[in-house]
């Protein structure tokens, strides 16, 4: 099932939407990836100036 939460992106200047489908994951095992990628996406505007580690 794919839920479309926002279908106004082409017209909405405020919406920074990213959607990913994960392969080889189920309803449970997808969670760590959604959490990690979700955090990176929603905080992308706050991390631009963070010093990067050499890893």
């Amino acid at each position: 099932m794919v839920s479309v939460l926002c279908d106004t992106k082409p017209f909405c200047l405020l919406c920074d939407l990213r959607t990913r489908l994960y392969t080889d994951r189920d309803h449970f095992t997808v969670m760590p990836l959604i959490i990690a990628n979700g955090l990176q996406h929603v905080y992308a505007d706050l991390i631009a100036d963070l010093p990067q580690l050499p890893w």
Partner: protein, 296 residues
Amino acid sequence: MSGSGGPGARTAVPYAMSWEEPSYARAEGYDYDHEILVALPPSYHVAPDRSYPVVWSMDGAMTFAVTAGVANLYIVGKRIPEIIVVGVGHRSEQGMLGLANRTFDLFPPGSVWSDPGLGDEYMKRMGFTFEMSRPFLTGDLFLDFLVEQLRPSLGERYRMADDHTLWGHSAGGGFASYALLARPGAFGRFIIGSGTNGLTIDLEAEYAKRHDDLDARVFIGMADGEINHTPLCAQRLVSRTTLLAENLRLRGYPSLDLRTRFYADRDHFTSMPPIIGDGLQHVYADLIEDLPKPNW
């Protein structure tokens, strides 16, 4: 359904792991303490006769939370059995600076960080000098500490089954692969994340000369982003880890259950959550066959 506390009320079945207060231990041969973090499985306090497999997570607080978090999630989802997670690393109050201790803890004497030629030259140009650390490498003592000191000590405090997994990433992955070959049988399950070193490649070859089997469940994970990161290339992170995985598979050890995965669109850091999740599922696959699966 009965109201809470009323006659016939059900006992709530805990579903979250509980975290103990940090404790500290001094390894023999060390002049500083390690911080010990423990997460107990959901049923721990309502099943007093039960003991649990243990995951030993390297790098202390940096990886303990995500390890226990993914473990908690997968326990709730019946993807893995209930386990105890033990994190071992530097004291949290030392902050990021304390991570320097991992070089001493996780690399045994004789470790080969880079290799002569391109890799070594790059590291020197960038100012990464491993040579100064060589006299202080204590990975062998740290392994002794985990197995001979800390395990029996925590075993007196917690109901640990004699079923131990070693999980480490990067230098921790190198340490886990070292433990697999330097002290076979000390751990039965291994999650090796993106890391080994030249010493382990040699140890593997030496082990093969003297053994015709290796009884272990091993998961190895790497990320494609690591190949696109020059300092990690200079440490031969992906190529050496791949070589270890290939050589182990080529040996054809009948009791070795090995699975290796490459993660696309991940880097050295962001690969950790899926490595933990997939690693836990692989190394505990023999224990989860009979677990009831939720209908999710």
